[in-house]
């Protein structure tokens, strides 16, 4: 028997992933903070980049870079081709019907603002209602408030229960003849709650209301199929999927995107321009004014290829074991409270320590090389709901390991010792 055949994939069993070897793909994990190895548990804020993606960016920048959609020279054609390939990669990653339904933006926030300006300002009027949830990130609250203030529209908010789960009956009860739009976060960045978006999209569609999904925290951990979800818009950022900052996508159903007004004006988004009149380009170009983040989009696609080669389901299953272990460990520490205990969660652990402010927790954990996020996580309504000013948040990725959870636990005990 040939040893190299031992771990061959089969239909019935998942391929065995060597998670310890995966760690070696990430050069930043070799870093030391003072005399301690880096323990990076702030992945919900931004993930780290594997060498494969770094190499792709270097290859693009050293052999393929020019502006796209313009010149007839060799490099421009190569760059245009690679940029379009990146769009295809994203299309297949979320199973969009057509590649023109993928718009490159600067990130999730930009995507949501595009929908607010392109769809909201055209179709939402005085007296109309927009449904959001308590779990939204500020980026899916503030743009809609700006629109509501401008138009005289109203924001309605879906409440959550004590576990940090949306109350679906209350959501359904919010719909009336004035409801025009739903903005819904797929996974809460502050608590990790995975929302039942398929069910919620169906409810909205029964009332004839389109739905935007903020998928920033979901795309790295959950396989996304926009056709099966039937969502009208879906947004996420590259830098939470091991890609570069400065790029993300907006998926939108082609018919909706075509009905919308442009967000930004400029080059590339036009068909023709005179001082009397401009006619706009077709989608997706209508929404990609100016030179797009070409290198970042190509790096984004390389990051998707990397994640897909491991398997999003494998990643989710492994991260779930880390979450279970960390939840168990933190529950054993007296004085530590986990905020958010939804039945369906990604590997996010928001917690408080009795008598210690989260910023002091973060500063002391940093001394042990442990990077966590502290603060309100751009989700102040959630903090108000749980009556805490802020929390500490550990968020895990597939390149984290159990011994790093142990280091977090030791760090928390050290915090308690200092503040005894």
């Amino acid at each position: 028997m040939n040893l190299s055949n031992v771990s061959v994939k089969s239909e019935t069993t998942s391929p065995i992933v060597d998670w310890e070897r995966i760690r070696t793909d990430f050069p930043i994990l070799q870093l030391r903070i003072g005399d301690k190895p880096l323990i990076y548990l702030d992945n919900a804020a931004s993930s780290q980049m594997p060498q494969q993606v770094i190499d792709r960016l270097v290859r693009y920048q050293t052999t393929q870079h020019a502006n796209i959609n313009r010149a007839v020279h060799y490099l421009s054609e190569v760059a245009t081709h690679e940029y379009q390939q990146a769009r295809h990669t994203l299309q297949h990653f979320i199973n969009a019907r057509e590649d023109r339904e993928i718009i490159f933006t600067s990130g999730t926030t930009d995507s949501i603002n595009l929908v607010m300006h392109g769809y909201g300002r055209k179709f939402i009027k005085a007296g109309d209602e927009i449904i959001l949830t308590t779990l939204e990130h500020h980026s899916n609250i503030v743009p809609w408030q700006m629109l509501a203030n401008e138009k005289g529209a109203k924001i309605r908010v879906v409440p959550i229960n004590d576990k940090g789960e949306l109350e679906i009956e209350a959501y359904e009860a919010l719909f009336n003849e004035n409801t025009r739009f739903v903005g819904l976060i797929h996974v809460s960045n502050a608590l990790g709650t995975i929302n039942p978006i398929k069910k919620m999209i169906d409810i909205a569609h029964r009332h004839g209301v389109p739905v935007l999904i903020d998928g920033a925290q979901a795309a790295p951990h959950i396989p996304i199929d926009v056709q099966s979800l039937d969502c009208d818009f879906y947004a996420f950022s590259a830098h939470k999927l091991c890609g570069p900052t400065g790029v993300g996508i907006l998926y939108g159903k082609a018919a909706l995107l075509e009905s919308m007004q442009p967000f930004k004006g400029g080059g590339d988004m036009i068909a023709s321009v005179t001082f009397e009149k401009t006619t706009y380009n077709t989608i997706p170009h209508k929404f990609e004014a100016g030179t797009p983040p070409i290198a970042a989009a190509i790096g984004f696609a390389a990051a998707i290829d990397y994640l897909v080669s491991i398997g999003i389901e494998q990643i989710a299953a492994y991260e779930s074991t880390l979450l279970d272990y960390a939840t168990h460990c933190l529950n054993q520490i007296p004085g530590v409270s986990i905020i958010g205990s939804a039945a369906e969660k990604t590997a996010v652990l928001s917690f408080t320590i009795d008598g210690v402010h989260p910023h002091d927790v973060g500063t002391i954990l940093n001394q042990d090389g442990v990077a966590v996020r502290t603060g309100h996580h751009c989700a102040q309504p959630i903090m108000q709901r749980f009556n805490v000013p802020a929390t500490s948040r550990a968020s895990f990725a597939f390149y984290n390991k159990k011994s790093e959870v142990d280091a977090l636990v030791a760090g928390i005990k050290n915090v308690q010792k200092i503040f005894l």
Binding site: G34, H357, H359, N366, T374, M383
Partner: protein, 161 residues
């Protein structure tokens, strides 16, 4: 810097047992300070007579660095003149932003335990917030923030050097 040198006994003690904690009933001056980045909020009330701080108190929700800074500040400025308090405010800001040469004469005394904060830029505002709020109270401004045009690290506190 090793963070342990910041979370020293004196700071932990003032956090646990803050001095001058509460609110003066008959304050001549007061202000509320707010750090919107972390949610820290504190109220300062003081009694100024003949340009001298007769009484001062603070209360609020904040991290240990902010609370200890407020506690030690109230102890330091009580009985001082307005001018002396402004000098301390200035020196404390210079200390925490790494601009004060502690080898030269200054008036901070034990407040120099906060010097380690200069290596933690994200925490500087936690330490400065009480001082910034005191400055606002002394100048009859009722609100102080750590952000935008009120950012104390960006120096709106007048120079006395």
């Amino acid at each position: 810097m090793h963070t342990n040198s910041l979370y020293q006994e004196v700071i932990l003690d003032h956090n646990k047992k803050p001095r001058n904690y509460g609110k003066l009933d008959h304050a001549s001056h007061q202000a509320t300070g707010h750090n919107p980045l972390c949610g820290d909020r504190l109220d300062i009330t003081l009694q100024l007579e003949n340009e001298q701080i007769q009484a001062i108190a603070f209360q609020g929700e904040s991290c240990a660095i902010c609370k200890a800074s407020a506690s030690m500040m109230t102890a330091a400025v009580k009985g001082k003149t307005r001018m002396d308090a402004e000098t301390l405010i200035h020196e404390f800001r210079e200390l925490t932003t790494g601009k004060l040469d502690t080898n030269l004469p200054h008036h901070l005394g034990r407040l120099t335990v906060f010097c380690g904060i200069r290596d933690l830029p994200t925490r500087v505002k936690c330490a400065i917030l009480p001082w910034h709020t005191l400055h606002a109270a002394l100048n009859s401004l009722t609100n102080a923030s750590t952000e935008a045009d009120q950012d104390p690290v960006q120096s709106i506190v007048p120079d006395h050097s």
